[in-house]
């Protein structure tokens, strides 16, 4: 059975403007993907593409005005979107753990880190406190924190960024989750620390057979640490497939541009075709969300796009998927 299955998820921000008119920002528009145990899926995209919102929608951390308006999120066959909070709380932090971008603001500044780990274990697993404490020390050791005994007694402000991120990872592992969601786990950390954290994450995934969702804007992280990739743009997954397939033969124009913009592939003189305004979520165009920025766009792109399978397990949300080469690229002014 698929561990996590997200189907046609729509999340909107519904608010009222100054004239008391309802305005709707369509932030997620039909996001679908699934994740098996032991697999690592990387979600990439630019700011505002809906990466973090996807994660928050899955674990039910949305706050008004954000609201899931359609779609389903199934975890081990159970629907999460309409689950009461009390029941959801038994899954969150237990079977589903989350590591967020900013490690320092995610720790309670008034509690020693060891106690925070113990507290999380007590809530979900109960049992004697000494057992929880032992588990906390084990997990701190597993994430490579030197001298867990004394580290457990330190306060969050005494930790460096890399160490705080390790503590968050240890916290996520406390209840042996089946699904780990890491939202930009290494953004803001130095490359050498990033390497340590990612190595650690990978060995933990293998050791505990966790399914992992990594949200990042760093294609390097995806290229080397994920099995599968999902590229998001304007609240939709525009391309998905195995990392190897997508990097070798990107089928969606946006993915192509994204890969072309990495320092390794970037060629001077091409940048004008790459950038551009993100789509206006309040007023999405009909059809393809990329059409205003796409060099290949035609009238056909104003009609509804369907996911096309360009190779086995490799999908792209584009009318011209798999036959972009036949399509003349039009110069556009970015």
């Amino acid at each position: 059975m698929t561990l996590l299955k997200v189907e046609d998820l729509h999340t909107h921000f519904i608010s009222r403007d100054l004239d008391n008119q309802i305005c709707i920002a369509k932030a997620l528009n039909g996001v679908s993907f699934s994740l098996e145990a032991g697999r690592v899926l990387g979600i990439v995209g630019e700011t505002g593409a809906g990466k973090s919102l996807t994660a928050q929608s899955i674990v039910g951390l949305l706050r008004p005005p954000a609201k899931i308006v359609a779609g389903s999120v199934r975890f081990e066959g159970r629907e999460l979107t309409d689950m009461p909070d009390a029941e959801l709380n038994r899954i969150r932090g237990n079977n589903i753990a989350m590591v967020v971008q900013n490690p320092r603001t995610s720790l309670d500044p008034l509690t020693r880190v060891g106690d925070q780990l113990v507290r999380l274990h007590q809530i979900h697993s109960g049992g004697p406190k000494t057992a929880s404490h032992k588990r906390a020390l084990e997990m701190m050791e597993a994430v490579g924190l030197p001298d867990p005994e004394s580290r457990a007694k330190s306060w969050p402000h005494e930790l460096s960024g890399g160490m705080a991120q390790r503590v968050l990872l240890a916290m996520a592992l406390m209840n042996s989750p089946k699904l780990l969601i890491a939202d930009e786990p290494t953004t803001g950390l130095d490359v050498t620390v990033q390497a340590q954290i990612l190595d650690l994450l990978r060995s933990l995934v293998a050791r505990f057979d966790m399914a992992t969702l990594i949200i990042t804007h760093d294609l390097g992280v995806v290229a080397h640490f994920c099995n599968d990739i999902a590229v998001m743009f304007g609240g939709s997954i525009v391309e998905t497939g195995s990392v190897r397939d997508v990097f070798a033969a990107p089928a969606h124009p946006y993915t192509r541009n994204l890969i072309a913009a990495t320092p390794e592939r970037f060629q001077m003189g091409r940048a004008k075709a790459l950038g551009g305004q993100p789509p206006d979520l309040y007023n999405l165009p009909s059809g393809c969300v990329l059409q205003s920025r796409c060099a290949y766009a035609t009238e056909l792109c104003q009609t509804t796009v369907r996911n096309a399978e360009v190779a086995e397990g490799h999908f792209a949300l584009c009318h011209y998927a798999g036959r972009l080469e036949e399509q003349p690229a039009v110069k556009i002014n970015a």
């Binding site: 630019e46 700011t47 030197p146 460096s160 960024g161 890399g162 160490m163 130095d190 490359v191 050498t192 620390v193 990033q194 390497a195 340590q196 190595d199 804007h217 760093d218 294609l219 390097g220 992280v221 995806v222 290229a223 080397h224 990392v243 190897r244 990097f247 070798a248 541009n257 994204l258 890969i259 072309a260 913009a261 990495t262 320092p263 390794e264 592939r265 970037f266 001077m268 003189g269 091409r270 940048a271 004008k272 790459l274 950038g275 551009g276 305004q277 970015a334």
Partner: protein, 328 residues
């Protein structure tokens, strides 16, 4: 022979932090930048990159050492004269949102340096402002807007327009692209490369993104705990890094290409505190090839066969190369 546009010697910057303790942010740095050259400066956070950039422009006062700009020693220059010099040395900051006055229109923001440094009539200044905006590919419709109405990439373009407004000889760019999205970043880098061609301005490009630095720099200096551990031509440094820290830093970089095999050297531990610097070679506490001597002796910069300068005691006998584990 052409004079370097910037030459710093033995430059140090220390910050007192109370309790008699001192943060050694920059320690005895020697660097020079030739006219038209781009020097990339890489290092982890806390390595003193940004501090060094600011000391060079005298936005911070150096604790020790000398800064020579365009043949003139500016270390002791009084504040009033420094101000006039800023016409020739400009800076672009990491965070364009906080670098621009939110209550000024983009037009006035770009015109500001011209107003301060160049004697032009109002209409000439307006023309120049519009030229600059066009040069950085910022549509003229944006000129009458306020910073809050522009995206990060557009704001960074405005910052670059400000920096090139007075035709400076040196531009210090402190992480100009790290707060921007990948596709936007490519456009900014291209703009910088074009501007460098046109104005022949020297650039000091500070960044922790190795891919970006490699793309844009002629030469690279690697900083660790406020010291330059290695500097040299970009390709030589990337192909055959000599200092163990450079080797580890470069191996931690992940190219966005799964076909690229990474053989990684993962460093143990974290960067020591700049308050209590390690003795001898600053890197010996984390260095996989450190020997007993490294804790006692401060290494001097020596030239390696591939051309760059590195400060490591183990270079003469070839012990500086770290054995790699193949990636699994």
């Amino acid at each position: 022979m052409t004079q370097p546009v910037l030459k710093i010697r033995n430059l140090s910057k220390r910050f007192p932090v109370g309790g008699g303790r001192v943060v050694h942010a920059v320690n005895c740095v020697d660097l020079s930048i030739m006219p038209g050259e781009t020097l990339g400066m890489v290092g982890e956070s806390g390595s003193g990159k940004s501090t060094l950039g600011r000391v060079i422009l005298r936005l911070l006062e150096p604790s020790e050492g000398s800064i020579e700009f365009d043949g003139q020693d500016i270390t002791q220059l009084p504040k009033g004269q420094i101000r006039r010099l800023r016409r020739d040395m400009q800076m672009v900051f990491q965070d364009p949102w906080s670098a621009l006055n939110p209550r000024m229109r983009i037009r006035d923001l770009i015109a500001e340096p011209i107003k301060l440094h160049v004697d032009l009539s109002r209409s000439e200044r307006d023309d120049r402002t519009e030229d600059l905006a066009r040069r950085v590919n910022l549509g003229s419709t944006y000129l009458n807007r306020y910073p809050a109405n522009l995206s990060g990439g557009q704001l960074q373009r405005a910052c670059i327009a400000r920096a090139i407004a007075t035709d400076p000889k040196l531009i210090v760019l402190d992480e100009p692209t790290s707060s921007l999205d990948l596709s936007v970043r490519a456009g900014i880098l291209e703009l910088l490369a074009e501007i460098r061609e046109e104005t022949k301005a020297a650039m000091l490009f500070i960044s922790h993104d190795l891919g970006t630095v490699r793309m844009i720099s002629d030469r690279i200096a690697v900083l660790y705990l406020g010291e330059v551990v290695e500097q040299g031509q970009t390709e030589a440094l990337f192909e055959t890094p000599a200092h163990p820290y450079t080797q580890a830093l470069l191996s931690a970089h992940l190219p966005a290409d799964p076909a690229f095999k990474v053989s990684r050297l993962v460093l143990e531990g974290e960067v020591p505190s700049p308050i209590a610097l390690p003795t001898g070679c600053k890197f010996h506490t984390r260095c996989p090839v450190a020997i007993a001597r490294c804790a006692r002796e401060v290494p001097q910069a020596i030239q390696v066969p591939s051309g760059q300068q590195a400060s490591c005691l183990r270079i003469p006998n070839g012990g500086n190369i770290i054995q790699r584990k193949e990636d699994v």
